[in-house]
Every structure is written in structure tokens, then in C-alpha cells.
Assembly symmetry: C2
Homo-oligomer: 431 residues x 2
């Protein structure tokens, strides 16, 4: 039997505590699988007195996680503090400088500093592992980086934030509006008191930037992401989506084509028959499209103590087994920032909801604005009549360039009869 | 840069040809990911003259795949001949004896000889890799063995045969009977001229036996499997399933509980809202339920040249990267056959379709037979009336022991008014 793998955990919140508990609960199973003992040697957290749900006997306590990161006789530092900078970043940088492997669940840290950290780790022959940072209940980093390694991937997209998916699912099931459902989710503990990180798409964007790097063997380029959250999705849009055969999901989409790499987080309509349309509640899911494999689809719990701890320990077992894979699928020193695809060149179909005065000629004016930009209408719905009053009109287009669509919409928004800014949602031809 | 990985392929059917073509097409990409060149050095097939879709210049030709398996300067032998014995088995045994790693897509070989081959490989420090043997388009071996390695798995089940899934999907979409849809599938090339291996569940059973070994760290125990194919699924059952909120899928199920390991392939009803119910056509899918991760779900193409070649090359890249994992998730020398769960002790719900004479008292007799075995009825459907003539009656039960169910059914089958053997389909509470 090889030497134990000596582990230190920085941060004992729900994930840290679950990781510690798993490491100490089923040591036989983990040892058989890893080929060596996964030995929890040290932990660090703010409050030593707080109960963690597992025994800390024989485990060294550090008040200072950075001191722990350079303590002797540690092989791997598990960073579960969170945040792009501050203590989390110091712990990871200190651990790598001290020659420790790092396992982290910290998507913000990787989105902002992942390229530099990967270079540091690889130059020192160390592992920087982060399966838990994206959809903990889905081994998606491993699937993309190893399972699909033979494929030239063209598109990777997914539901990457469970809070948003829970809110959108509940809105659809109950017909209620965003603010109402958010308030309830906060009460139930499914959304944070400050929900911005989730509902404005930032958390999903962090995760997407990591997936894109792995899928396309590119440097993380978080600044290139376009991010739109779900605050503007209305009950009316969800009802129209249903009627048109779609579901609205907050998707992170990375798509490589001849115009460059497109990276976006935004609410999208997906056909109700596609697997991703039926991923509800707090589940996450990812679709990967590869040259050889075609479409493959992965679904699991996105967050929570158990799934995230499962991913952290899978990384620890990989390290124990001696697995070594380039952090972002090719050597970090060779990673370049991908050429960003200009968003106006993106091709796709669109859903548009207008609030217009119900009078003759309005639809003709709208149609003319689209025609002049060569945008082809696929369907038009005007439910109810109320001459002279405001009524909603819903359009869907055939595939078009986004730039043309936005120019047409700008003209439509200026029409006298159009009373509110048009609401636009992208339609995704999910496989 | 490390030395090239020298590869020989035995068998150039559609998968072998696709593997060769992929290896020779995108060598830069594969080299970046593997950290060394994947060099195709030798091939063997029956007919040298047949066009394969890729250039064989610089590649040594062997008429005898066994001679190739022990040829010098080869690191890995890829076995794509197929079949549990014969040339395929000789190639793999010879390659391992000669110190070559083996990559295979051969589920029959592993189901029947996997334990011995794994012991041989591990004793010699060699890799026996087989991602392509189960659901090629889904990296499920990697997901179970590595991605979910922190989990005690309780149940793994899936749609493992694309031909059966295509037939069942088409039966549902068209209302046609099995024989008719099978004949069409044969004409379209989706089913073999001799379809038995697929439609009788043998192919799915081979794959399930492998998944069970990986999921539960047990020796493969193919003999313990109960196997039932789809020949007896009728259009009527599919229509009733729809009405009851289920889909009928041929599932391979491995379930570990206190009574032992249950391994079965059989048609099952799954709730229409579960992800696996919506996997249609030639797609495969696997659900894994783990102690920490909860439910995770994987979907992709099951077979075909591209997905299978993708899996073969992923295994080659793992070997090139130096990955070493115990073949069936713990050292082969330590693997024991699992204790088989007695099937009569299995607990589950059931669908039963009876053809009975429409006269007073029949349902009371059926209900009494169930009551006497403590089987609780969940629903009863009798559509249409035709006094004195044959009418179908459909029942569903609450969870019960399978032994009790079978005893009740034996008594029901003996009732005068019951005209045909009862048709029984298991109902799965898919997550």
C-alpha cells in the first residue's frame, strides 16, 4: 500500500463539513478505490467551537488557513472558502508555492485567476483540480477533459445555476412573477438574501468560463462573456413559451465557430422535447456536442453539500491515483485567449414580445422593420382584441444575424404604437 | 515530449475504420491532449483490399491479429473484432501475455471472461480499458469509476441497447406491433438480420454486468443476470402505459440492498416525467444513484462508429497520460462475486394486463387472489364492456414482494374467466 495522501481542508461551511465527514466515514471504500488512505490531517475555519458533524480528533486545527496551506506534511490543500480574492486566493497561491496540490470548488477564483494559477501549478508539477466548481453532482470536467478527449467540441451549454432554475421552474408551474417567486425562494433557503450573484447570471458565468476553457482548450476569458440574468423574464414570456413549444431556461452557452468563440449566459427558449428543457428545480445539466460523439447530455444536482463533497473527493482520489491532466485540457503555458465571436454576427432565432396599441397597421409597420433587415418571421401571435388599447404581440423569427435583429428592434421600439421596450429571448435549437 | 504511444488495431469494421480515421485525422489535437503522439503502427482485418476511409501508409498490415498482438514495438492493442471467444479472446489474451495494454469495445468478452482478463492485466501492470463496451457515446465507465468514486452507489440502471429503444419508441409513436416494427428496423439497418442478441436482451445484459461490476466493486457475474427481452411487449401495453403516465423501456438494472445484488434486464414502466422516460430512438442513457451525489443522469448515442471510436480513443489518451485505475474499481485479485438477491424477495410495483371474460365476479376473484398474497391494488382499468366476451383488464399494484406477486398471478392464471397468461411489467420509481 502506498503512503497516505495527507489532506488539509480550508473552510468548514456546509461543503467543507460534508467533505470532512465523507472522508472520515467510509475510509475503507475510499482506500480501496484510491489505492491509498485519504488522510484528513488539518482543517481551518473561523469558529473552532462550531459543531461540524464529524470528529476532529487527530486533525490539526489552524486558525489561519494560509499558515495551514504551507504547513509541513500536507500533500493536498482543499480550498472551500470561496470568493475570487481574499483568503481563498491566498490559500491557493500559498499552497501551490509550498508544493501542495490544490482541490477547489471556487468558480469565482478560477474565472478570475484560473489561467495564472494553472500556469503556476503546472510549472511546479502540481494538480489544480476543480470538478466541484461546476455542477458538483455531474462529473462534467472529467467528461469533457477525458471522456470526450477524442472530440473536437463545437458547443457546450447548460443549466449551471440551480437557484435560477428553481425560480424559472416555479414560475412556470405556478404562473407567478419573478419577484414573488424569488421572495419565496429566499424564505425557503433556495436563494441568498442578496440574490444578485445567482439571478443576475454571474455564478453561471463563472462556471461557463471554466467549461469553455476545458471544452476548447483555451485560456479562461471571463471578461469576454456576455451576461444576462433572469430578472426580466416575465410570467407572460413563460406562458408564451409554453404555447410555442418551448421552455425558458437560463443557459450558459459556449459555441465555437468560424467567427470565433461565443460565450454567453442568458435566458433562452429551448424546445420542450429536448432533454435540457425538462431539467427542473435545483438540477443542473450540460450538453456537449462533439465531432465524433454527437450530442451527449449530463444531469445532476448542481450544488449542495453532498454533490459538491462528492466532486471534491473524486478529485482527491484522482490525485491519490496519480492522474495528471493539463488543467484546461492542454498545457497552461500554451493557452491563448480565444478570439471572441462578435455578438452581432451570432446567428439564431428569436422570440420577441411587444406591447402595442391595437389599431390597424401596427403589425405591418413591425413586419416592415424586420423585412428591411432581412429578418424572416416564423410566427406571430396576437391574443385578444382591444381596439385602441394596449395588447401584447408575440413574434418568432427564423435564424438571422443578431445585429440585424437588434437594428430591426431599435426601429420597432421607436414606433408610436409600441408602448414598451421589446422583450427579446433567444431560441436555441437544442439537440 | 514523451515517446509516442504505439497502437495496433485488430478489426477494421465500422468502428475500427472510424478509430483509425480519427487517429490519423486530428493528430495535433490528440497529441496536445494526450501529451504524446498516438501513433497507429499496425492493423489487422480479414480483407486487405477493402477501402477503410483512411490511409494505411506507414501502417503495418497483419493478416493474423494474434500475430499482431505479440508483434514488437506495440504498446496498446485495440480489439474491435467482437464475440466472447474466438479471435477476439485470443488477441486480448495474447496481447496481455506479451505485455501490451488492451483497449476493447467487446462487451461479450468482458461479460464472460472479464474477471480473468482483469486479473491477468493487473498482475502484469497493464491496462484493460473498455469505455467503448458500454454506451460508447457516454463516458459512463469513467463517470462511475472516477467521477462518482466518493459514492457508495445503490442503484445503476439504464437504456443500454439502441435497437430495442428504437423499436419501443417507434411502437409508441406509431401504435404498431413489435414484429412489424422489427421488420422495418431490419430493412433500415437499425436491427440485425438475426435480431436475437438485441431484442432478447443479451447485449444489454452484457453491458449491465460490466456496469454492475464497476458500480459495486464486484466481480462480473453474468450468470446471475435475469434477462427478458422486448418480444412480448405489445402495442396494447404501450398504450396502457401512456394512459397510466408511464413509458415502457428495456432497462438493465443493478440494485444493491440488504438482500444482495439484483441484476436484471427487462422491459419496465418508468414515469413519463423521469429523464430516462424521454430517451428515445437509438440513444442510450444511464442513471446512477449515489450516497453523496444523489441522482445523476447520462445520455448519449449508444453505438455507431463515431461514438464508439470516441470512447476507444479516450481510453488510448488515458493510457498515454499514464492513468491507472483498477479495472473494476478495486483490485481484480480482491474481487468477489456479489451475493445475488433472490428475485422473489425483490420489492416493487407491477403492471398486469389480463384478458378475461366480461362477466360479474371476475374482478372480485382477481382481487381476492391479490389480497390473499397481501398485494395491494393501486389502480384497475377496464375499458369497454362486452358481456360474455373477452375484454382486457389492467391493474397496477403498490410496492410488494415479487414472490407474492407471482404466486397471486399463478392463481389468477388458473381462473376460468382468465383466457391468456397474464402479462406483467415491472414499474420503476425512477428518480
Amino acid at each position: 500500500m502506498a503512503e497516505p495522501l495527507n489532506i488539509a481542508i480550508a473552510g468548514l461551511g456546509t461543503v467543507g463539513a460534508a467533505t470532512g465527514a465523507l472522508l472520515r466515514a467510509d475510509t475503507d471504500l475510499l482506500t480501496r478505490r484510491a489505492g491509498r488512505t485519504l488522510a484528513l490531517r488539518a482543517v481551518s475555519a473561523r469558529d473552532r467551537a462550531k459543531p461540524r458533524g464529524f470528529a476532529l480528533d487527530g486533525v490539526e486545527w489552524f486558525d489561519d488557513p494560509v499558515a495551514m496551506a504551507r504547513a509541513p506534511a500536507i500533500d493536498v490543500v482543499v480550498e472551500l472558502i470561496g470568493g475570487a480574492d481574499g483568503a481563498a486566493r491566498s490559500v491557493v497561491e500559498t499552497a501551490l508555492a509550498a508544493g501542495r496540490h490544490v482541490v477547489t470548488a471556487n468558480k469565482a477564483l478560477l474565472a478570475h485567476h484560473g489561467n495564472a494559477l494553472a500556469r503556476t501549478a503546472e510549472a511546479a508539477g502540481l494538480v489544480l483540480a476543480y470538478e466541484a466548481a461546476v455542477a458538483g453532482g455531474i462529473p462534467i470536467i472529467k467528461a469533457l477533459r477525458e471522456g470526450l478527449a477524442a472530440n473536437d467540441l463545437t458547443r457546450v451549454y447548460g443549466i449551471l445555476n440551480g437557484t435560477c432554475n428553481y425560480i424559472l421552474t416555479t414560475m412556470r408551474e405556478t404562473g407567478r412573477e419573478f419577484a414573488d417567486v424569488l421572495a419565496e425562494a429566499q424564505k425557503l433557503g433556495y436563494a441568498e438574501a442578496d440574490p444578485s450573484f445567482d439571478v443576475d447570471g454571474v455564478d453561471a458565468a463563472h462556471k461557463l468560463s471554466i467549461l469553455a476553457a476545458v471544452a476548447f482548450g483555451a485560456a479562461i476569458d471571463f471578461e469576454a462573456l456576455r451576461i444576462e440574468g433572469i430578472r426580466h423574464v416575465s410570467a407572460a414570456d413563460i406562458a408564451y413559451a409554453d404555447e410555442l413549444g418551448y421552455r425558458i431556461k437560463l443557459l450558459g452557452i459556449a459555441h465555437r465557430s468560424e467567427i470565433g468563440l461565443e460565450q454567453r449566459v442568458q435566458p433562452c427558449m429551448v424546445p420542450v422535447a429536448s432533454p435540457i428543457a425538462n431539467v427542473d428545480g435545483v438540477f443542473n445539466a450540460v450538453v456537449a456536442e462533439g465531432s465524433a460523439v454527437g450530442m451527449s447530455f449530463y444531469q445532476g444536482r448542481g450544488a449542495g453539500a453532498g454533490p459538491t463533497a462528492s466532486a471534491v473527493i473524486a478529485d482527491l482520489i484522482d490525485i491519490a491515483r496519480g492522474h495528471r491532466v493539463a488543467t484546461f485540457n492542454q498545457p497552461a503555458a500554451s493557452l491563448a485567449k480565444p478570439k471572441a465571436a462578435p455578438s452581432e454576427r451570432h446567428r439564431g432565432a428569436f422570440y420577441v414580445r411587444l406591447m402595442v396599441v391595437d389599431r390597424p397597421g401596427v403589425i405591418a409597420d413591425v413586419a416592415a422593420a424586420l423585412r428591411d433587415e432581412l429578418v424572416s418571421l416564423e410566427s406571430m401571435l396576437q391574443r385578444g382584441r382591444d381596439p385602441g388599447e394596449a395588447v401584447p404581440v408575440v413574434l418568432t423569427t427564423h435564424e438571422t444575424e443578431e445585429g440585424a435583429m437588434l437594428r430591426a428592434l431599435a426601429r420597432i421600439a421607436r414606433l408610436d404604437a409600441v408602448l414598451e421596450p421589446p422583450r427579446v429571448i433567444r431560441i436555441i435549437e437544442a439537440l
